[in-house]
């Protein structure tokens, strides 16, 4: 894409741009600062700069589309790329105002070869609550599958739901959500997802109202917690998963706390720094020759404040928030693991029940019904025996049927979950890498920008006509 945007002419311009600051610095500054003259621009920066310059000319819409596409391509890195046949893009946030409320909708575009999508509307508008609904339905329907997470409903730091930064972050997260669904071999064929992607506005509202999944959620919580604790013969791969998720969740929590502390201290640092700049400006008022130097310091500190604020904001958006969402995701994974445990529990109990009944049957064969209740009531002991035996046989048949069904369900659930966990691990690795890479890059960017500003200040502190003859500099 860089080649598209950068003509040979503009690259040359950038090269000139790059060399001139250094030249100007040399001309204006009498003394040679070894730190300044050793500064070189890497050729990578030329490419980066030209991309930025051109992108700023384009409209917002184009930028958001290209960034969504890039986000899409980034997630395609695994082997599934060849088998992908469902592509979804989220972009173009728009504000809607009605009498009751105002909210944002995003455009959701689908691109696919799948036959069921033939003739269907492939571009719809959805709001955050629609995404929430979809996720809820998916969780209910596929209780042993891992459903990808959604971004948090409210951001504690960003109070303005309509600010471009907030929308950018949310759009990216929604994009990721749908892309992960599209890549999932089971979830991507869900009917609710289909409706979400294709239904027109009123159709969609009608569909949402059908069927509430409240009951299935209730059976989830306490019952399953208990089940998990009593789990004795959990298959080893799930033992590992449980332990991993537990520790991983803990570590995420610790990192979240660390990042919150850093954000707090950084914000306080920013406050002090903001008070510092005017001190120099005030001082400049009572100075004459020193005025320009002091004003240069003041201006520079103000600019560094801006950089710091940007960095704090984007650390919140691109680091702290994703980390928090991963913590929530971890919780939902734990929930799925618990549900699987519950299924296993049910199955185990049936197996136990069956064994008990079989034992009873054996006992009945050799039992003496002379003193049973039936005999007491006047029945023939042999008949009592026979009826009991019949009843047990029936129970055994029922139980065996139930057991088979539960076993099937369990086997499927185990296989699903195992496959999902593997996929989850791959995604987690990619996501973590992206989160931390972003953090590192953001810090680098912050320091690079501040570095540039301070270099300018060094130049500006000494006005051009100042000469150093005012005194001998003596080394002490």
């Amino acid at each position: 894409m860089a080649e598209e945007n950068a003509t040979p002419h503009s690259v040359k311009d950038d090269a000139d741009l790059d060399s001139s600051p250094t030249k100007a610095a040399d001309e204006n500054v009498k003394f040679r600062d070894p730190l300044l003259s050793g500064f070189d621009h890497e050729s990578d920066d030329d490419g980066m700069e030209s991309l930025d310059l051109n992108a700023s000319i384009k409209s917002d819409q184009t930028v958001s589309r290209s960034s969504s596409l890039i986000a899409n391509f980034k997630l395609d890195e695994d082997a599934d790329a060849e088998t992908k046949d469902l592509f979804i893009v989220v972009d173009d946030p728009e504000k809607h105002t009605s009498t009751l409320e105002s909210y944002i909708t995003f455009r959701v575009q689908t691109k696919t070869n799948r036959s069921e999508f033939e003739g269907a509307e492939l571009s719809v508008r959805r709001r955050y609550n629609d995404f929430l609904w979809l996720r809820q339905r998916l969780e209910e329907t596929y209780c042993t599958h891992l459903v990808p997470p959604l971004p948090a409903k409210h951001s504690l730091k960003r109070l303005d739901r309509f600010s471009p930064e907030f929308l950018r972050v949310r759009e990216g997260a929604l994009q990721k959500f749908l892309t992960r669904l599209a890549d999932h071999p089971v979830l991507s064929f869900d009917k609710n997802l289909f409706v979400f992607l294709t239904a027109k506005a009123w159709e969609f509202q009608a569909h949402k109202k059908q069927g509430s999944g409240i009951f299935s959620r209730v059976t989830d919580s306490l019952h399953n917690m208990g089940a998990s604790y009593m789990m004795k013969n959990r298959p080893p791969e799930f033992v590992v998963m449980h332990e991993y998720i537990q520790t991983f969740g803990e570590k995420l929590g610790v990192m979240d706390r660390i990042s919150q502390r850093i954000l707090k201290e950084s914000t306080e640092y920013l406050t002090e720094l903001t008070e510092w700049a005017p001190c120099f400006m005030l001082w400049a008022n009572s100075e004459d020759k020193l005025k320009s130097g002091l004003l240069a310091m003041s201006k520079n500190i103000e600019e560094c404040c801006k950089e710091l604020k940007d960095m704090i904001d984007s650390t919140e958006d691109d680091f702290a928030q994703p980390l928090k969402e991963y913590i929530l995701y971890t919780e939902s994974v734990k929930g799925v693991l618990r549900r699987r445990d519950a299924m296993q529990m049910e199955y185990d109990m049936i197996v136990e029940e069956l064994a008990k009944k079989k034992e009873e049957r054996e006992q009945i064969k050799t039992s003496d019904q002379t003193y049973s209740i039936g005999a007491f009531l006047g029945k023939d002991p042999e008949d009592v025996k026979e009826s009991k035996r019949e009843k047990l046989e029936q129970q055994l048949v029922d139980l065996t049927q139930q057991m088979d069904m539960l076993n099937d369900r369990l086997v499927v659930a185990n296989a699903d979950l195992k496959a999902d966990m593997e996929r989850w691990h791959i995604n987690k690795q990619r996501d973590m890498k992206e989160i931390f890479l972003n953090m590192a890059e953001r810090n680098i960017q912050y320091y690079e920008r501040c570095l540039e500003k301070w270099e300018n200040t060094v130049r500006d502190i000494h006005p051009r006509n100042e000469n150093a003859e005012d005194g001998i500099i003596v080394s002490s």
Partner: protein, 432 residues
């Protein structure tokens, strides 16, 4: 017009950019106008001494003061090389002497007695090695500033401070400088009751006050910033620990996480040398904060001199008026002593009156001479003071420009370090 005074490089021995030598060679005048041009002075090796006196143990720090003549031709003016030990209180004695003796010169200030504008990790204890080191550096700057001043550097007591091991204190006291110090009461009267204070000194006083306020604010916020910056870096160190724990449950991510954790530790410990360097910046500003006191001191001394002048003027006017009244035959006021006397005992005889007039004329002549002297002295004082104030201004501009430039360079260094550390961390994350 050649610049007469030469100014020392700010800061301790550590910072010596190459160009200083170039400038030194180029600008060396043929005549020596300050001590610093032919003598090297160092303050080093602080040591603890203890005096076991009568009841209390007096523990204090002494500093080694060494001098060395650097110009062959000047060997005759001083011993080749000297060294002796001085403690802070002796520096104070020297400064008090200089301040009283040279009323028109802005005397360099001493480093602070107690640590001010501190943040959580800064040393506050008098005997903390970091505090002592910073004090040593400041004391050296103090001596170098005196040595580079055309007038101050020729003072014998100053030379004795650096070279006379025994009997220096006696020499100082024998100058009887304390008696020349202006009484506080006079200084206060002077500042309130001047009729025609020179506007320029009023401006200098105002400037000194503003300088004090401005630098105080800068130091105050800097200390708070240091606190926060320290916390931010140290908290990043916690990432190192959690990365280590996390890496235990991972496979592919394990090594990259551990390496990244290492760089978080590096980040956490990088703040300590950075803030130490920043203390140096704060110290340099503190010196100029203290200079505001020196400026006010010079203004006060001008006011005393002006006060004396106006009193001499008043005296002359009073005497002249008295004489005029006598000549006109009137007694000076009904409620004066002589007025009462004449009422009680009768007026003066013509002979008595003539005598009085003659006496007054003598006194007037005397007063005129005194006024002329005072006027001359005041003029010289004002000239000298204003000249030194100009010198100070030039020095201040140059020093502060350099202080800010060095601060900016320090920030540049810090940014580069930050970039390096995060780039290394990024390289680790890439491998995740």
């Amino acid at each position: 017009m050649a610049d007469e005074e030469n100014s020392p490089e700010l800061g301790p021995e550590k910072i010596t950019p190459e160009q200083n030598d170039v400038h030194a060679d180029r600008a060396k005048p043929t005549t020596k106008t300050s001590l610093l041009q032919w003598m090297e002075i160092t303050v080093s090796e602080p040591e603890k001494r203890t005096n076991a006196s009568m009841k209390m143990q007096d523990t204090y720090i002494v500093y080694l003061i060494e001098t060395r003549v650097t110009d062959e031709n000047m060997k005759g003016y001083s011993d080749g090389a000297t060294s002796l030990w001085r403690r802070y209180s002796e520096f104070e004695l020297l400064r008090n002497y200089l301040e009283t003796t040279y009323a028109t010169i802005i005397i360099p200030p001493l480093p602070e007695k107690k640590a001010t504008y501190t943040w959580q990790n800064a040393p506050t204890d008098k005997f903390d090695p970091e505090f002592i080191e910073r004090r040593r550096a400041a004391l050296e700057v103090f001596l170098l500033r005196i040595a580079s001043h055309t007038i101050l550097s020729t003072d014998k007591i100053f030379m004795g401070f650096m070279q006379q091991d025994n009997g220096w204190k006696d020499a100082v006291y024998s100058t009887d400088f304390q008696s020349k110090a202006e009484s506080k009461l006079k200084a206060i009267s002077a500042s309130f009751r001047l009729r025609k204070p020179d506007r320029r000194f009023e401006e200098v006083k105002n400037y000194a006050n503003e300088l004090q306020t401005n630098i105080s604010n800068i130091l105050k916020y800097r200390a708070r910033m240091a606190d926060k910056l320290y916390a931010i870096h140290k908290v990043h160190g916690n990432y190192a620990r959690v990365f280590g724990e996390w890496s235990c449950i991972e496979k592919d991510m394990s090594e990259p996480l551990q390496s990244a954790g290492h760089y978080m530790d590096v980040l956490a410990s990088s703040i300590d040398p950075m803030l130490e360097e920043e203390e140096h910046f704060a110290d340099q500003l503190k010196e100029y904060l203290a200079f505001s006191d020196s400026l006010r001191s010079v203004c006060r001394k001008y006011e005393c001199v002006q006060y004396d002048l106006e009193r001499a003027d008043d005296n002359l006017s009073a005497k002249a008026k008295e004489r005029d009244l006598l000549v006109q035959g009137k007694s000076p006021g009904t409620f004066s002593l002589s007025g009462v006397k004449s009422k009680l005992f009768g007026s003066d005889t013509p002979e008595q009156r003539e005598l009085k007039i003659k006496q007054l004329e003598e006194q007037i002549k005397q007063a005129e001479i005194e006024l002329k002297q005072a006027t001359q002295e005041t003029q010289l004082h004002v000239q000298s003071a204003l000249k030194d104030i100009e010198r100070f201004k030039r020095q201040k501009t140059k020093d502060l420009q350099e202080i800010f430039t060095n601060y900016a360079i320090m920030q540049i260094k810090q940014c580069k370090k930050g970039i390096a550390i995060w780039t290394s961390a990024k390289d680790c994350f890439v491998k995740m």
